[in-house]
Structure formats: structure tokens, C-alpha cells
Symmetry: C2
Subunit: 585 residues, 2 copies
């Protein structure tokens, strides 16, 4: 019981020297990567840079205690930071104390929601964010984030929460572009893009181990930070209009308390729920993927609790919402992290950074951070997914497109909720007009297939009907109509066999329809049979009078039904194998 | 094409003398039943009595032309009248011209909605009213209607749209009860209840044909109308406080036009949609049931058009919303109606009544009409359905209970919409945690069943997994977790076969999950196979890369998969039949 909620008790018991070494190495690599990321994402969220570092300390310790993934690396992430900026920006002015307090409270509420959901095993709710909706969200929020960072690259002021507002905000500023800032920003972007395109293959050609090459690539922003900071300090770029990070409060994170103002909670609740659920989905996907590579297991409901405590820890130590980051976790994994202890060591690394490095980062240009954000989010955008979805399923494509367009034009919350609602409506529409197939026996087997797609044996007097959906209220009447029409068209039919292999449940409306079908067929002297009814469905039917009223029988398999109702046809079908086999031999 | 929209062209061609006689007899019986019903339902809708007769003339002619049911009898019905009173009562004061105009407009808008929905084949939308929601609605609206009519039985004033308002409105009036009115009302209720309980068995014992006995029972309100009218006239009951129907405008219905005020349309649109859909569901259920008894067919989408034109006809001739009535259609059927012409003849009968009978109905006590309404709606309430639903399915019961309680306390619209929403949420929750079964071969057959419920043959190296749900976003991750856990628990497994007989569709999220499962199993040296993939699902998978990436094969049947992957186990299972058969012989 205790071990269920404290996975550290499981892996901590056998923690040894070898694991310690590996975890320490991974922690150093992740720390190097996390420092610029933390500063950048704090800027994206509209918060002072040190807040990003605060969010990379205590939350990592919390995840080490409660997390079930061995390699998930927690901290501020791009989408969460953007959502924080939007949610908090509606409540207070950026830079004010109220803005900071609201961000802390948002982390606290998100954390609370996650812990409660995890405790009550409500992780399944995250599944309602379908794959097309998440892909659409990643694409649209990537575009929004990149567009929002343009002002830092251009060295102008700007604001806005959707693409139109951001564009309209930038246009009047185009005359005021700071050319030194633009130079720094474009140089960093070019450097990062070149690294992504060529560094890995270059290193491989130089004989570097591929794993190490991957880690070096992910750490390349550190070099950009170091060089642009040095240039900015040496040539006093701030004097010619390049905005710099400035003084970062150094020292350990403060103890902070969220606000408990009910009005604030009400206005943050919706955003907090969305940040929680989206963050959870992102984290769990990464964690699952990495766990599978080592045949490990993660427990989604416990992951909710772990991410929840990480967010509460963030709120109590001056941070903002956190969750598992994709690139960061992959680096952690590839750098050899074996246990969540690597996260705790990373937290120590960040603590060292905040104490010793903050004076040095004073001259870091904001354009450098903006450039790292832009390259990071745009690299997450995979245009191929749009094409693949279009080819695979038009309805999934519709949900994705709605999510992208509405996120860009109306904001993240509207975009995601519309995508989810559309996905559900499409599903309900589809199940309300289910697929039906008249089936026949595949020669030489006991298997039954659609007469339109396979060469099968059928019978004049027995109608074998496969229903390809659970019987529930949106499609109940459809089944009635289908059976009635088929029987009206084929006067020779004496038996209808409903093959229920695809019927996973029958609700009260479905039962009513079955009873109506049974009664109507009885009036026309046709018997109704069922085959392949599954256990859970059978359990339910036994609590009604349907099985007593049924004019025909319930058969274990469709073959058994066919063999009983038209033995000649079934025998003929079976013999076709024999002749076929003899011919084949 | 023309015949599709004008079914009268089909049955009218062979219309002969025999059909004419039968239709005429049925029309006379239905007319006798319809006169008191029309007056009563107009009163229930808060409209002058003649409006009920208007609604029983032109709409019937329209249905004769467009309807596909041979025996559905159209006209004002209890639930539609109550919904009219609620919808129009929110807009204008009862008795005002605006109230009447709004009622006419409501019929027009409902008719328009039905015609458009029928034309665009949107009849499937009606299926979203599940059986428990409709049962709950019938129960709750029956109680609401009966409670609303109590004021006429007590001879007091009252108002209110939900049970609490109606009760609170009646309590202060209890001191003002009119005893002669109460006497008339209670006498009629007792008479009608006694008739329902004993008339039919009495007539049967006297040797009357059961069909005729049924028709006489349904016509028994006519006698109550005649007697109470005579008593009321002879003893001048109106002078001692018994409210009477009073003067009914006689003569043909006027030509009326609905209002085209956009504000009025906006405020009526929601109610009109609900009246249309509920009326359509009621009508189609009755029509289907009666059509099946004679192996006839009705076409739901064309029924929408027919009911729509009936409502438009009602609006143009001074009437209010109409649809197919249950009791009335059964009487029409049992009285021998053969074609929709019976409806046209009924319309002629009502026309005769409005010309010759209205002066006679002057003294008809309103309490008589209220008593017929109360007995009619309460007889529709079947308490058994509540118990049966409770036993069959707790989730359907929850939807029914929500509909009943919210209809009684918050009104019809809130009640029905909440019931529908709850039904959908329950369905989504259920499909998000689908049933999975590990299956094995049923000895002596090619059939595979759940190892927990059947004696089956399994294999150590092959995991046969049956997924009992379509793979779509709410359950995609659930499948990933399930497969991962099962494989982690059984290290001997080399092959996983997903038996897809119950997988009716795979959306983009489901595909993503399948790809993730395939990749993770490959990392653990386990092959993934699929069996019994249906045609439409296979078509879809072929538009993705999944089938190329699949480490294993796609088998036609689960048996074929098992026989290929563990031939020994499959052979052993087949031989068990032989030994069994020998033992059986």
C-alpha cells in the first residue's frame, strides 16, 4: 500500500554504486540543458528568469519520491508556460505581484487537481484528448509560441493571445526594430538550426558514439548562451538596445504560499484543469515510450499523483506549473539515467547554478532565449502528421483542423475543447449508423465472413447477420429497420441469426429493439437466433426476459447455429475444403 | 422519385371498394374518439376548444398524402399539448391573441424543422432519445399533466410549469373547491377507470368480438361526454360553479398565417425542435409496431416529411402542433383501417362535428375533459418499466431517474436534455474502459472464447487477446497499458494475437496505439499479429503504414492464427472433439 504511493521505496531499496554513477552523469547533462530552458520558459510565461530555476528544483525532488517512470525529467515546458501566460494574463498585468501570485496559485491548483484525479483513478479522462487533437494542439501552440517570441527577436514590444492579435500587435512596431537584437536572434537561430541539421552526422563521422552525439546536440543551446553572453558583456550590447536578462535573484527559492481567494480559484480552475490534463498526457506518452524500451512499467494514476505533488512543490517554492518534458527526458534516458534519483541530482545541479551562475547570466540577451524557444517549438511541429491523418481518416482530420484553426484564432482552451467535442460527435454519428454485414461460411472453415467481400456459402432460409456495433440507443432503431427490410426483401427466410461477436454491450434501448425485432419476426413466422454472445452481454441479458421470449436459440458460435439451422449448407461448405485440399495436395 | 415523396401514388393506384368500406368504418370510430380528445388537448395547451378540432382536420389530409404508415392516426396529443403550453406560456399570457399566434407559429416551425430534417435524412437524430429517457419523459410528463389538470377537477384556479409550482399554486386554493365540479370530475374518473378495468372482460363474456370490445373501450369517453353534457344542460350546472366549455366557434377552420417575427422564432426554436423530435419518435414507434403486424414497411425519413407537412397544415388552418397518437392509431388499426385514406375520412367526420355538434357541446363541463386527460396520461405510466430498467442496467436507470426528476422539478426541456447528456456520458465512460478477454480454443471447434468462462485450450507462447471495443481515442491508451502489463507478466510469450472481431473501427488515436504496441513488443522480441479484421477496418488500415510495420501477420480467423503459431496446441484442441465424440457415441 505504502509502496504503491511511494515508488521510491521500491527502487531505493536496491540503489547501488553503479546506479549512482549513471544517475550522476545523466544529472550533469540534464542540468546543462535545463538552465537555458528554465530561463526561456519563465520568460515565455511572463515571469522573472529565476522563477524558471525555482520550478526546476523542489518539483524534481517531489517527482523522485512519487514518480513511477525511471527517466521522466520534470520541469517547466513550452506548452505549460504558454498556457500559464494566457491564464494569468487574463487576471493581472505582467510584472505585477498579482501576476506572480496567480502563477503560483495556478501551479498549486493544477497540482491539487492532479493529486485528486490520481487518487480517484481518473487518469482515463486524459484519454479524451485524442491523438489528432493533441497533434493539432502541438502544431498550433508551436506556431503561437514562435509568433509570440518574434518580439524578442525583433527587439520591439508586442502582446496578444491569438495569432491575429499577435500579428496586429507587431505590424505597427516594424519601424522600431532593433538591428543589433535582430542580429543576435537570427545568429542564434541559424546556429541552432545548423546544429540540428548537421552536428549529429558530423560527430558520427568523427567517430563519436551516437548516444553521446545525441546528447551533445541537445546541449548545443548552452554554447549559444555562453557565447552571446560573452559578446553582450564584452561589447555592452545593452547600451545599443539589446535587451538582456539583467539581475537574477540568486540564492535558494523562497517559501511561497498560493492565494486562497475563491474568486481567483474560480477564474483559474478551467485553465488549471487543462494544464493538468495536457501536461499529464504529454508526460505519460514520453514516460510510456521510454519505459517500454527497457520493459519497465509506469502506472498512469500514480503518475498523476507524482506530477501533482511536483506542481504543489513548485507552488510552495516560488515556481510555476511544471510537467515532464519530451526532449529533456530523452536526454536523461540516453545519458544513462537509471532511477528517478537522477532528477534529485539535477535539482542539486540547478541549485548550484542559481547560487554561482546568476551573476554571470546578467548579460545574457533575451533574444538568445527567444531563439532557443522558437527552434525548440518549431522542431516539434511535424507537417507529415497532417497529411497522414488526412489519408487515414477524414473525420480525424476534421478534428485536427478544428483544433489547429480554433487554437490559432480563438486561443488554446477553445481550440482544444472544440476538438474534443468534435471528436465525440463524430464518434457518436458513426456508431449511430453502424456497419452490418450478411455473412456466409468460408469454405472449409467454421469462419463466417461478409458475402460481399468473400467467397462464402449461404443459405436461402437462414439469414446470417453480423452487427458491427454495440447495441445502444443511437443505433437501436437502425437495427430494427435493417432486419425488417432484409426480411421483407427475402420472403424465403425462416431463420435470422444475429452474430453478436462485435456486440460489446446492449443497453435498455438496444434490448427494447431486440424484443421488438423478436416480436415482429414472430408475427411473420421467422425465428430469431443469436450466436457468439459474449459473457458480459449474456450476464446482462439474463437479467431481462429476452432470452425466455426469444423464438429461437442462443448458439455458442455462428458455425454451430448454421450447422443446426441448415445442416446441408454447412456440410457442403465444410466439404469444399476437402475437395480444395485434395486439389492442393 | 415522385412516389418516394408522395406515397399516396403507391397505395392510391389500387384503391378499391373493399378498402373504402374498411377505411370508412375505421374513420367513424376514430372520429368518435377524437372529438373529446381534441377538445381536451386544446384545453391542456391553453387554447380555445375549437383549435383542437382545427388541428384534427387539415393535418390528417396532409398525412394521407405524405405518410408511409397505413394506420397512423395524426392529431393533437397529450405530450405535444403540454409542451406547447410550456413553450408558448413563456412568451404570452394564456387567452391573448399573441398566445394563439405563438402556438400556430410553434406548429409551423416544428413542421419546417421536420420537413428539413426528413429531406436531409436526419431521422437518425431521433435515436439519441434513448428508451430510458423516453420512458422517464412519459412518466414525468404524465404526472405533470395530471397534476396540471387537478385545478379543473377541483374547480379552482392554478398555474405552474413544474410539480413544485403546481403544488404551491393549488394549496392556497384548497378552501375554494367547487363541490359540484369535484363531483362531476370524480364521477367521470371513476367511470373511465371502471371501464378500463372491467368493460373489456364484460363484453368478452357477453360474446362480443375482442376487436370490437377493444374499440368500444377506447370509445367509452364519448359516453361520459354525452351524459355529463346532458346533466350539465338539464340542471344548469354552470349556475352552481361548474365551468363549462361554452361557445365553440363553429364552421370550417380559418386560414391562418404564423408570425415571422425573428425574436419569436428564436425563442420558440428550442421547444419546436424538441416537440418535433419527441413527436417523431412517438409516431415512428407506433407506426413501426403496427406496420410489422401486417409485414408492411414505413420509411422514417419520409415520416418526418409527412409529420412536418401535417404540422405546417395545422399552422395554416388555425391549429397547433400535432403528431401520431398511440391509442388513436391502435383503434384505427383495430377498426380495420387499410390505407391513410381513413385519416382523410376522419378529417371529414371532424368537419361534420364542428359544423353540427359545437352548439351541443356548449354545456360540456371542463371537468369531464380534465378527467379524460388524467385517466389517459396516467394509463400510459408503467411503473414496471422503472423496475425492469433498474434490474437490467443501473446506468440506464440513472438516465431514466435523472429525466424523471429533472422533468418534474425543472421542466420538460431540462429533463430530456439532461437525460440525453447523461446517457451519452455513460456510454463514453463505458467505452473508455473496454472489456478485454484472453481467449482459448473451445475443444473440437475453431471457436475461441474467454479462458475465465469456458474450458478452452491455450498456449504458453501465444497470447490470444480479444479486444471488446472499437479502438478509438477514449480507450486507445487503455489497450497499450493492457498489452504491456500482460506481456510483462508472462515472460514466455513470443506472439500476441489481437482478435479484432469486435473492433468496428480504428481511429487515428487507435492506430497510434497499435503502432506503439507493435514497436514496444518488437523491442521485447514479441511478434504482434491480428486476426478477424473486418473489411471496413482493413480498408482503413491499408491507408496507413501499420500493416507494413506489423512484426507478425494478419490472419483471416483466430483459429488460423493459432494453428499457424502453435500448431500442437491447436491440433490437441481439435482432437479433444474426436475423443469427446467417441465417448459420446
Amino acid at each position: 500500500m505504502l509502496k504503491q504511493y511511494f515508488p521510491i521505496l521500491v527502487w531505493g531499496k536496491n540503489y547501488g554504486r553503479a546506479s549512482l554513477t549513471n544517475d550522476l552523469i545523466a544529472a550533469i547533462v540534464v542540468t546543462l540543458m535545463l538552465i537555458p530552458q528554465s530561463l526561456a520558459y519563465a520568460m515565455l510565461a511572463g515571469l522573472p528568469p529565476q522563477v524558471g530555476l525555482y520550478a526546476s528544483m523542489l518539483p524534481l525532488i517531489a517527482y523522485t519520491i512519487f514518480g513511477t517512470s525511471r527517466t521522466l525529467a520534470v520541469g517547466p515546458v513550452a506548452s505549460g508556460s504558454l498556457m500559464t501566460a494566457v491564464a494569468v494574463g487574463n487576471i493581472a498585468a505582467q510584472g505585477s505581484f498579482d501576476y506572480y501570485l496567480a502563477a503560483i496559485s495556478l501551479a498549486f491548483i493544477s497540482g491539487l487537481i492532479l493529486v485528486v484525479m490520481g487518487f480517484f483513478r481518473m487518469g482515463f479522462l486524459a484519454n479524451f484528448l485524442s491523438h489528432p487533437v493533441i497533434s493539432g494542439f502541438v502544431i498550433a501552440s508551436g506556431i503561437l509560441i514562435a509568433a509570440g517570441q518574434l518580439k524578442h527577436i525583433l527587439g520591439v514590444r508586442g502582446s496578444g493571445q491569438n495569432l491575429i492579435e499577435i500579428s496586429l500587435g507587431l505590424i505597427p512596431q516594424l519601424g522600431k526594430i532593433s538591428q543589433p537584437t535582430l542580429l543576435v536572434g537570427v545568429a542564434v537561430i541559424c546556429y541552432l538550426v545548423l546544429m540540428r541539421m548537421h552536428l549529429k552526422s558530423l560527430l558520427l563521422r568523427l567517430g563519436v558514439n551516437p548516444r553521446v552525439a545525441g546528447i551533445m546536440l541537445k546541449s548545443s543551446p548552452v554554447l549559444a548562451v555562453v557565447i552571446t553572453t560573452l559578446v553582450s558583456w564584452r561589447y555592452s550590447l545593452d547600451a545599443i538596445g539589446v535587451r538582456i536578462v539583467g539581475s537574477i535573484a540568486s540564492g535558494l527559492p523562497p517559501f511561497t504560499m498560493p492565494s486562497f481567494d475563491p474568486d481567483l480559484w474560480r477564474s483559474l480552475a478551467g485553465s488549471a484543469l487543462l494544464i493538468s490534463v495536457i501536461g499529464f498526457v504529454e508526460s505519460v506518452s514520453v514516460a510510456q515510450t521510454l519505459a517500454a524500451k527497457r520493459r519497465q512499467r509506469i502506472i498512469p494514476d500514480q503518475e498523476m499523483i507524482a506530477l501533482g505533488t511536483a506542481n504543489i512543490a513548485s507552488a510552495l517554492s516560488g515556481g510555476f506549473p511544471v510537467n515532464g518534458g519530451f526532449a529533456r527526458s530523452v536526454v536523461n534516458f540516453e545519458a544513462g539515467a537509471e532511477t528517478p534519483a537522477a532528477g534529485a541530482f539535477t535539482a542539486i545541479g540547478i541549485t548550484a547554478a542559481i547560487i554561482f551562475l546568476t551573476p554571470i547570466l546578467f548579460f545574457l540577451p533575451q533574444a538568445t532565449l527567444a531563439a532557443t524557444i522558437i527552434v525548440a517549438v518549431l522542431s516539434l511541429i511535424d507537417p507529415g502528421v497532417i497529411k497522414r491523418t488526412w489519408i487515414y481518416s477524414k473525420s480525424d482530420f476534421a478534428a485536427m483542423l478544428a483544433t489547429i484553426m480554433l487554437t490559432l484564432l480563438e486561443g488554446i482552451v477553445t481550440g482544444i475543447l472544440s476538438g474534443v467535442a468534435l471528436s465525440l460527435l463524430i464518434h457518436l454519428y458513426r456508431t449511430s449508423r453502424p456497419h452490418f454485414a450478411i455473412v456466409g461460411q468460408v469454405p472449409g472453415t467454421e469462419h463466417f465472413r461478409n458475402i460481399l467481400r468473400h467467397k462464402v456459402v449461404t443459405s436461402l432460409t437462414v439469414l446470417n447477420l453480423r452487427v458491427d456495433e454495440s447495441l445502444y440507443f443511437p443505433n437501436a432503431r437502425f437495427l430494427e429497420d435493417t432486419v425488417q427490410n432484409l426480411v421483407a426483401q427475402n420472403p424465403a427466410i425462416r431463420h435470422v441469426v444475429l452474430m453478436c461477436a462485435a456486440v460489446n454491450s446492449i443497453d435498455a434501448s438496444g434490448l427494447e429493439s431486440l424484443e421488438a425485432i423478436n416480436a415482429r419476426l414472430r408475427d411473420s413466422d421467422v425465428k430469431l437466433h443469436c450466436s457468439e454472445i459474449k459473457g458480459p452481454v449474456m450476464d446482462q441479458l439474463q437479467r431481462s426476459h429476452f432470452l425466455e421470449e426469444l423464438t429461437g436459440k442462443v448458439f455458442l458460435s455462428q458455425y454451430e447455429a448454421f450447422a443446426a439451422l441448415d445442416p446441408q449448407a454447412a456440410k457442403m461448405a465444410m466439404e469444399q475444403r476437402h475437395s480444395h485440399q485434395i486439389a492442393g495436395n
